[in-house]
């Protein structure tokens, strides 16, 4: 594990913490993008360049833009930030923190366990990813495809509407 990993990991942890603690949802989303980018760097360092590129293209580049798009449409003003401030009281942190402490203890235990040294990092090239997707994991791909298809059909159903006629002259020609 070189310094590159530790820098990327530190950025990932820090930005994820910022995602949780920001009151302004847009700033939180931007930190989430940074978190995705640092995770992409970690993927790249550990021999998964294809996954790294997809992480940036799909998560940071498409899904996050869509979420930001919807947040923009909701037009949240400063009052949402103050609402958020009211909701995020210290009492709320107790439960999640306890759960995290349990996980932390477990993680420390795993790190302290004497383990076999990790093998050399093997780079998984795009071809290998494609072969495994359409080889052993083809069922998962098909299922994901069906799920997406259902989403598309649903979106089509919600978005379908009759052509609106906005002018009375055009209305007449449309009836004929």
């Amino acid at each position: 594990m070189g310094p590159a990993f530790f820098i990327a990991a530190a950025i990932a942890v820090f930005s994820t913490l910022m995602v949780i603690t920001r009151y302004n949802i847009m700033h939180a989303l931007l930190y989430l993008v940074v978190s995705f980018l640092s995770i992409a760097v970690i993927f790249y360092l550990y021999g998964a360049p294809f996954m790294a590129a997809l992480e940036v293209i799909v998560y940071a580049g498409a899904i996050m833009v869509l979420i930001i798009f919807f947040v923009m449409m909701l037009n949240l003003g400063p009052q949402t930030a103050s609402e958020e401030r009211l909701w995020l009281t210290p009492r709320i942190w107790i439960g999640p923190s306890l759960l995290c402490v349990v996980l932390l203890v477990e993680l420390g235990y795993l790190i302290l366990l004497p383990s076999e040294p990790v093998d050399e990092i093997v780079t998984v090239d795009p071809k290998a990813v494609g072969l495994s997707l359409f080889g052993p994991y083809v069922l998962a791909v098909e299922l994901a495809g069906m799920l997406l298809m259902a989403g598309i059909v649903g979106a089509y159903h919600l978005g379908r509407q009759k052509k609106k006629i906005t002018h009375r002259f055009l209305e007449k020609t449309a009836e004929e």
Binding site: N24, M26, H27, L30, I57, G61, A62, V65, M72, P126
Partner: protein, 318 residues
């Protein structure tokens, strides 16, 4: 040691040429637009009016740099930097010549796509942080336009990947020694060109800024060098898409041996930059819904068909 020095030379050289190209394009665009519209354009300062670049730059630097009090300050300042940074990062993977290449990435093409999807943020965040109705509308148009056209862009590129069998741009250029990919991938080229225009939100697809409807769209509140960053980012984007077209479909630096590879690359790229300017001079702007409909109902099926046909032909020939 020698290699490391060369490396820095290449990085410095690429940056120098790119930033100067982006500035020079201001002059080129104004002059060419003028010539196509039967006027002279800027022809007073210096030879052929070239010093207009200097005047424009000085003007941009000395304009008041104003952040509106109602804007989200951090995001407002951050947004223009994103576009320039992401475009400059993409140039790292483009092979300008046989050995003139900053990073020989084995996922170069994907890196280009990733950076262009990061570039969307500058439009979205710039428009949102301005806290202005027109900017917000521009940003929303920009987001949906760029996300949609990215899909066809990626799908159109997959034809090239199928033919060459690699994501590495240098190897893609090498694979075109026999035949440029413009011939087997003509449909892919057309789709990539259209998507490239939409991705750089240039005219005729400058719907995010559409000055006749939205004042100046997502950068309505920007002034001074912050506007300058959007401006330079746009020209850099044109250069990037042109050089990607050259790399992927027109054999990159390949060409008859009487000129070095870099010169061929620059010449070919220049042709496509001029095409971008000609598009601006000659095409009307479509309506927003027309643009989206055209993308999803025409370009999307076409790019899927292109992918299918290419794959089938490759399978048959094997």
């Amino acid at each position: 040691m020698q290699q490391a020095v060369n490396y820095w030379w290449i990085i410095g050289g690429v940056l120098f040429v790119l930033l100067n190209t982006a500035a020079g394009l201001i002059w080129l665009e104004r002059r060419m637009l003028a010539l196509w519209q039967d006027r002279y354009g800027p022809n007073r300062a210096g030879p052929f009016g070239l010093f207009i670049v200097l005047a424009d730059t000085i003007k941009l630097f000395f304009k008041e740099d104003w952040i509106p009090p109602f804007a989200d300050k951090i995001v407002f300042v951050f947004a223009p930097a994103v576009v320039v940074a992401s475009v400059l990062m993409s140039f790292a993977v483009i092979p300008f010549g046989p050995n003139v290449l900053v990073a020989d990435f084995n996922i170069g093409l994907l890196f280009f796509l990733a950076m262009s999807s990061i570039g969307v943020y500058s439009v979205v965040l710039g428009g949102w942080a301005s806290n202005n109705k027109y900017s917000l509308l521009g940003a929303m148009r920009g987001a949906s336009q760029m996300i949609s056209y990215e899909v066809f862009m990626g799908l159109a590129l997959m034809g090239v990947v199928l033919l060459s069998g690699t994501f590495n741009l240098r190897e893609i250029v090498e694979a075109q020694r026999g035949m440029w990919y413009i011939i087997p991938q003509f449909l892919g080229f057309v789709i990539f060109l259209i998507a490239g225009v939409a991705e750089t939100h240039r005219l005729p697809f400058d719907i995010p800024e559409a000055e006749s409807e939205l004042v100046a769209g997502f950068h309505a509140e920007y002034s001074g060098m912050k506007f300058g960053m959007f401006f330079i980012g746009e020209y850099l984007g044109i250069t990037l898409v042109s050089s990607m077209i050259v790399t992927l479909y027109f054999g990159g630096w390949l060409g008859p041996a009487f000129l070095p590879g870099v010169v061929w690359f620059i010449l070919k790229t220049f042709v496509f930059i001029s095409l971008f300017i000609l598009l601006r001079a000659s095409m009307p702007r479509p309506r927003y819904d027309q643009l989206m409909e055209y993308g999803w109902k025409v370009l999307f099926p076409l790019s899927l068909l292109n992918l299918l046909a290419t794959a089938a032909i490759i399978l048959i020939l094997k």
